[in-house]
Symmetry: C2
Subunit: 344 residues, 2 copies
């Protein structure tokens, strides 16, 4: 577990590092900034098109954990995950010309479905580059929302190569799944709603993959309540964010052999500096701990949350002492699970 | 499908038939009556101990069904099902002497867990007679709530014999899972909450097994809104309520070979007359239709509902025309599923 002590930093304005295609070099300051105000604007923009998802509590899990847990249920969100927040924030800002060229992205599934939903609503076409080992359910979800799937290999270089070829050929507008300020601002609205509903939270735990959700959560949470503690939860088997923080620069995933199909992406050049500046700690969680947490959420809470979501509970349960007696918000980021391939 | 036209009957007061141990003879008027006022009193009595469960909607399922669906989520209820409503209504009315003798019941699982929870809270002991083919999850649920399981064979005579022996030996107070007026009044509080939240419902669909939930639903719904239509949903493979209505008297289940482990009981002598008088129709649902509905609820709504619950959606989807354009309340009665034994 890697700890950082930036509790007192104010995110009122934040300079970004330049978006850089070489993941190992993130050192040029970017002139743009995302603020809490951007998250508020994003919220106003996307509110008509998304659910304000409920926050659930569970007495059993409170007793088991020794903390008071508040689950932000974006597994109930439109298209099945928080991704509709950022995707809608991008799509609603596209010009008609951009939209007419088509919209393209790479996605492990949830962003692709969400983007397709947002683009289809505006009458446009979406192409989604997806790894061929994506759960069938997530493929169906893209297609049901009007998107077209383009296959790639399940690694970062293949994703980018296939997307690049696609864009060169069609001139499509790219809506990146996380490394985009509009995405960061959109994803931050989940934590904003959570804190509006429960202003006395002590801690928030968010999953981390490419970092869109965690960076948005950090900007919203620390902007609204500077003393709040925010943790990222990351699979031990895809721990690039954890190791990048340790090293002080972005390093690549060494494995992505995790059940969390939504957490296999590489931390982004826009999201990493935000995480680096504000996150209190990243907690890595083993596959066994993730599966145990998943079964616990399903059995006790009676809701379907995907592995990439329940990792937040896994992180909490493996570090109970740290959360004892605290009010903890956990972002359940999505509920798109292939019911024919459950891990038990 | 069996239809009856009692829409205009008022349930303000209702004479019951005498409780009779011979299921084939239900013809003596019983002097007691359950009214909407009893349901209101039950609600006041149990309110501190139960959740007011949420009502969920789902755009996908609305489009698919051509109706507006309102799911009353008692799968999120304490102990995982609506059963805590009736059980609490009994237990809170027991004298200390009755409680001290211990409380006993037969149960397919959910009533046993709920009763155990209610009795344990008052400091008493519970013995639950359960068929040996009960899903492990429901056994765990009884034990987790402080109950002790006593095994029987999975048929009505064995249930009653084992319970009878137990009562003779220990003098325990019996809290029947459905054939008790206090149970009927308690279970009616689910429909009461649903109609309070959505007063403009046209229809309610409730599962039917022993009839506690359906009879309570009928008394609450038709008492609050006489013009509302109420259907029961019953497995084709355990269709005693459907056939009893056809015949005009209680007949036994011919098979109980259904995935709905909560719907294998025999319609009761107290519940049947209420159902006979007020229900508009009972819709029987095949195993395939139940499993399809279950997968649909899990995939689209992201919630865990047990087969005995989702049968309400199965009933609706097989008779779409009847519900077209209507506002339909569906009681999702429970969420206790053995995740290691899913039907797909």
């Amino acid at each position: 577990m890697h700890c950082r002590g930036h509790n007192n930093a104010s995110p009122i304005s934040l300079f970004f590092y330049e978006q850089n295609k070489d993941f190992n070099k993130v050192n040029t300051l970017y002139f743009s900034m995302v603020t809490l105000k951007d998250i508020e604007s994003a919220h106003d923009r996307i509110r008509p098109f998304i659910h304000r998802t409920p926050v659930m509590t569970n007495q059993n899990l409170n007793i088991l954990s020794g903390a008071s847990l508040y689950f932000k249920c974006d597994n109930f969100q439109k298209a099945g995950s928080f991704k509709i927040r950022g995707a809608t924030n991008i799509v609603e800002q596209l010009s008609q010309v951009e939209l007419d060229r088509g919209v393209a992205t790479t996605s492990s599934g949830n962003h692709g479905a969400a983007l397709s939903m947002a683009v289809t609503r505006r009458g446009g076409k979406t192409k989604v580059v997806m790894p061929h080992n994506t759960p069938q359910m997530k493929v169906n979800n893209v297609e049901r929302n009007g998107g077209e799937v383009v296959w790639c290999d399940p690694d970062q270089p293949s994703r980018e190569r296939v997307l690049g070829e696609l864009v060169n050929k069609t001139g499509a507008t790219v809506a990146h799944p996380y490394n985009d300020e509009r995405i960061v601002a959109g994803q931050g609205t989940a934590a904003k709603e959570l804190i509006e509903d429960y202003p006395d939270l002590d801690v928030i735990i968010s999953p981390v993959s490419g970092g869109g959700l965690l960076s948005g959560t950090l900007l919203a949470a620390k902007g609204m309540k500077p003393e709040i503690v925010v943790y990222g939860a990351e699979p031990s088997e895809a721990d690039d964010a954890y190791r990048s923080l340790q090293k002080g620069e972005i390093v690549a995933n060494e494995t992505i052999d995790t059940i969390c199909d939504g957490l296999r992406a590489q931390i982004g050049t826009i999201t990493f500096p935000i995480i680096q500046k504000y996150v209190d700690s990243i907690i890595t969680v083993t596959e066994t701990e993730i599966i145990e947490a998943m079964k616990m959420v399903w059995e006790r809470m009676k809701i379907i949350a995907e592995p990439s979501s329940v990792i937040t509970l896994g992180a909490l349960l493996k570090s109970k002492d740290r959360f004892s007696g605290k009010k903890v918000g956990l972002i359940l980021s999505g509920g798109n699970v292939d019911l024919n391939q459950l891990p038990w």
